[in-house]
Amino acid sequence: MPTATYDLIASNVLSTSAASVTFSALPSTYRDLVIVITASLTAGTGQNQIRLNSDTAGNYSSVSMEATGTAQQSGAGNPNTWWYVNFNNGDMDAEPTTTIIHIMDYAQTNKHKVGLSRGNSVGSGTSVGANVHRWASTSAVDTILIQASGTYAANSSFYVYGIAG
């Protein structure tokens, strides 16, 4: 009997706008996590910000590449207090966006955690990008805080999938 994989282990579809979404008490029984966000902001533009286990220290680093409507660019951030994933739009009806974040070996306690992410938005805040992240902690990930440099609009959806390994 194959092990079930790509299971939806947590979700939140916003009925009203919200500043952040938190998933806690995540099971440690999978190998990897995939977070899929389809969202927009109530106004303005911004980025998804990911925090693990409520760690507010500068343990987060990233390398990114991105194309906006007018340029391509790359950069690195270290140390940060969040993982940043490009995302820019302000209208859930007109311009929803998709962000996909993979966190490998999230429950392992003998390694720092690596994330791969893709951000996609078109329209007023065009941005397509890819990022690699590190969280300098050997703790198993059991809590994920997702917020933006703005407020998520109603109907934004947040899914967390577990991949068996």
Binding site: L8, P96, T98, R118, S121, V128, S157
Partner: protein, 166 residues
Amino acid sequence: MAMTLVETITLASATSTITFSNIPQTGKDIMVLTSLRDANTSSGNDVLFSVNGVTTGYVVRTLYGTGSGIGRANAGSSGYMATFSSQSNNLTANTFSNIQFYLSNYAGSRKKSVSIDAVTENNATAAYMTINAGLLNATAAITSLSISMGGPNFLQHSSASLYIIS
């Protein structure tokens, strides 16, 4: 609750369009993985995705690398979601491109946001990697999905698999 293979289409002969019809509405997300080679004799052409037979209202933003440079592309209100990643028939024999097409909330009633990653293979400097953000300015649930080159055929042994994730 899982990732479920709905269908794999493997071409027994050259074909211009690969279509998944009657996509079950029981999932949250859909993912399509392809292995494609086409009859073009020059590289750098687009692979075109469309849904529900809709032929207008797609917007795509692309970041790409060519093996010797990088660039970006903007396509607004076009007839397809195009990714700059054809595996043309002048590239190394027996090599195929790979594309991942991911669409969340496909059965919902809002506009559809898409993430597409694609790579080609070639034993030479020129090969392509693209990441693409797509938007379909239509709200209907996705019940069919087509992949084409806008004319040239996909070659024998090309394949595409559609999964639903629930």
